[in-house]
């Protein structure tokens, strides 16, 4: 079995309204040394291992992330593959 963790974040140049609100709230709680907060998505995918090569799997995940999980117009993604 394979686990893929995909992290999707808004591109730097895009105003992150959710991040801003969280930042404000964090400050309100009393942590005023916060600099920035960015809000993103975290998608865990469990795949039945089918003896694909790392290469192949990466290609698949890239495809998925580009087409579905992230919108390349506004978002970046990165991921990690965990084997167990």
């Amino acid at each position: 079995m394979l686990k893929v963790n995909v992290y999707v974040t808004l591109k730097k140049e895009i105003l992150d309204a959710q991040g801003l609100v969280i930042k404000k709230a964090i400050k309100q709680i009393g942590f005023d040394n916060v600099n920035e907060v960015r809000f993103g998505k975290f998608i865990q995918i469990e795949i039945n291992d089918n003896n694909k090569s790392e290469e192949e799997i990466k290609k698949e995940i890239d495809y998925l992330s580009d087409k579905l999980l992230a919108n390349p117009n506004i978002e970046n993604y990165k991921y990690e593959i965990v084997r167990n």
């Binding site: 808004l10 140049e13 105003l15 309204a17 609100v21 579905l68 999980l69 919108n71 117009n73 506004i74």
Partner: protein, 237 residues
């Protein structure tokens, strides 16, 4: 080839779409033109000569609004249809789907208020030289409701420049006197953009709901001219 025919609208239905009947009512009952629903699994339809992608929450708007709907089989039909010059209008969720499908440029972010917004807004018709807003006067101020979570239109600077060069911005949020300013921007959209078309001017996406403003009794009938413009365009030789 699409012109000069009797208008026949196809209204797409995805799981989670919820404005399809509102569109149907306007076309069928108020405007008395042919229309039918098209299930998202369909791959072709030879009857229709205009497509409406109505509002709602296709696939719950889970992940990102419009993101999952674009994988429905019907979308390749929509793509072909648009490429052949057919009229496609995406309203609210339909607009989001068109963006996700890259039939229109840009993307939708969450409203900068981080809240769902349901209210009437004023819109300025920025262009009347296209099949969707030809029945208005350029500069006219019209009233329609918005009802969305993610209507904060984003496009990068280059994209924006292109939109402007080609007069692709059709509607902007404004106040009742037609001023386009931050106070009149309900959701944070770039330059108050409420609706845009593609370069070939046959695909139109807008966040406000024209189908919900077609009768005085609902508070406005300003939306009617969107559909009438389309009908005129199709019927014309």
């Amino acid at each position: 080839m699409l012109k000069g025919r009797k208008p026949y609208f196809g209204i797409l239905v995805f799981p989670g779409t919820n404005c399809e009947m509102d569109c149907y009512y306007v076309l069928n009952n108020l405007l008395k033109v042919n229309c039918k629903y098209i299930w998202h699994q369909e791959t072709k339809d030879d009857d229709i000569n205009a497509i409406i992608i109505p509002g709602g929450f296709s696939y719950g708007d889970y992940l990102r609004s419009g993101a999952i709907a674009k994988f429905s089989p019907v979308m390749s039909f929509v793509r072909d249809f648009a490429q052949n010059g057919g009229l496609v209008i995406g309203i609210c969720n339909g607009f989001q789907i068109l963006l996700e499908e890259n039939l229109l440029p840009g993307a939708m972010l969450r409203n900068n208020t981080l809240k769902f917004i349901c209210k009437y807004v004023n819109l300025k018709v920025e262009d009347a030289d296209n099949p969707f807003t030809s029945n208005y006067n350029k500069g006219e101020i019209i009233k329609m409701p918005i009802r969305h979570n993610e209507g904060n239109y984003y496009i990068d600077e280059n994209g924006l420049k292109k939109l402007k060069e080609n007069n692709q911005i059709l509607l902007r949020y404004c106040d009742e006197n037609g001023n386009v300013n931050t106070d009149a921007n309900p959701n944070g959209s770039v330059e108050n953009i409420a609706g845009i078309c593609n370069e070939s001017r046959n695909v139109f996406g807008l966040m406000p709901h024209p189908e919900a403003s077609c009768e005085k009794i609902l508070g406005s009938d300003d939306g009617l001219n969107i559909f009438k413009s389309m009908i005129d365009f199709i019927s014309k030789f």
